[in-house]
Symmetry: C2
Amino acid sequence: MDKVFGGAVIGFGGMGSWHANRIKSAQGIELIGVYDIDPERHEAARKDEIYTFSSREELLADDRIGLVTIATPNDVHKEIAIAAMAAGKNVICEKPVTLSSKDLEEMLGAAEKYGVLFTVHQNRRWDGDYLTVKKIYEDNTLGRIYNIESRVQGSRGIPGDWRGIKKYGGGMVLDWGVHLLDQALTIMGDKKLVSVYATTTHITNDEVDDGFRATLNFGDVNYYVEVTTNDFVELPRWFVLGENGSAVIENWDIEGRIVKVKDWENYDVTPIQAGAGITKTMAPRTSKTIKKYPLPKVHSDWGEFYRNVIACINGEENIIVTHKQIRRCMKLIEAIFESAKTNSVVPFEE
Amino acid sequence: MDKVFGGAVIGFGGMGSWHANRIKSAQGIELIGVYDIDPERHEAARKDEIYTFSSREELLADDRIGLVTIATPNDVHKEIAIAAMAAGKNVICEKPVTLSSKDLEEMLGAAEKYGVLFTVHQNRRWDGDYLTVKKIYEDNTLGRIYNIESRVQGSRGIPGDWRGIKKYGGGMVLDWGVHLLDQALTIMGDKKLVSVYATTTHITNDEVDDGFRATLNFGDVNYYVEVTTNDFVELPRWFVLGENGSAVIENWDIEGRIVKVKDWENYDVTPIQAGAGITKTMAPRTSKTIKKYPLPKVHSDWGEFYRNVIACINGEENIIVTHKQIRRCMKLIEAIFESAKTNSVVPFEE
């Protein structure tokens, strides 16, 4: 690492505190201080022996600070990010980056204008379960994969703060959706997203969505994303189908399995009684023609995000979470809202 | 039962043989004989001590026969059904009743013209798993239900006969779909089906679909239907969400559970480490605020189908599987094909 420079956090809530700790423990950067509009949060910061700036202006005027992480409510990301970039700071913005592509373009334009780094904290690219699916996809473990289902199911409604309010960028599409959609776009890589069909739910909240279901048509891959907050039973976190086998990941602890065909013949078929009829088509296979495998092991290091940002500022690496990706994910979120609102399939690319 | 009249089966394959046995064991009807174009099938019938007619004409000319069950390939249902009705016979037709609404109207028109009963063997209305979900829905067990998912997942491709050939009415929408869609329309009852979005798969077969996924928008109920034939792991047969609880039915043996909220408070929340982040929203509930229940017990008697048909012919009951329902299900199948072909949401009713 060439040099150590200063980092600061604006917005010292749950995520802001998390970022402050990450900056403290990262190499090549030191935490200079934080700023929050809430005096109680400054109290909390000082208890952690973190310096608190008296104003955002004071923070942005501090020449020691090279990197500002923004962890405020979503609706003020834009204004703060642009102010920070105008002050010459590199910026990490919490997700969702902002509430519309229009606002996002202003933010990306500012990064270009002031010649600074701007990226989004898409930490769930380092989720072990996601990296496992990505490896299965890239290694062609199941043959050609044609179906991926990614679900996160909760039962507690929307947490009772700004996440339930529209003008603050609340709702599950923007909160959890942004993670699962970014994962989808990243796994699929250069594959074009042809169209989007989505529905949203309003079980516990009228103002914003408290869940959604989206079918992303990537041509030869059907990618389904679901977030719910009123489910008292759960389906697996991931469900993946390839031509020669299937994979399931049950949970965040990456419990699951791969099942692959070892012999396409149907000589192990015994018709089963299935409700008011018998069926051969739906009779489960036996170990005669399929084989179970454990999930592949992946390495996942959440520290890579800050390491990459710092290396990027030092001119040593390319940024992992790029402007192009941030833009595409924002447009996908807008397509989901549009599809749900109009009950129609929304064309996306090409 | 007023009188015993004669029944016959045209098409003596797997299902034809099943029907012959049902007629043998039903009250108020006796099996007169069967007809198949394949001499080998006649051989099989005679081994079961069943009379085989030398021609369809001979069968239809037999005055003892009041009810004909048609269990031939799908593409000849129409012609045989109309010939049977013209001969004054009441008709049970195997599913799918035929391949288009246009053909179906000719069949229903013939029933009216000749004043006979015409119905379709929708035997899966007597599936215990389906009846369990229907009871949960009707008893309001989970509060207002807003999401029902119905999946049948196989791994053997399409059975290697006429089911893989388009002109014979092959493919999974027509084979298994017709059951799950009829169940959906029956559970939802008078609720209007607003629109349909569907995708089909062609993993092991180019000519016909070897699976499909359909989202049926019933206004305040999202009803999802899926049939697959290349899945080596399975999701539960049924997944049902209500405002106050959820239900899952794992399999045909009706294993599963209901989980209901007993206290909406979130005081049992402990944030969980979930991949590269922590979450309160998605933290599972504990027994402090939810409670598990067994699935309700239902009575299921597959014999009711023939009993109803016979009672209906004797003027004692109304038919269970009505023309209106048969028509609606056929139109739904067509909407699914249209949606998948055009990658669009197809409006259905109103």
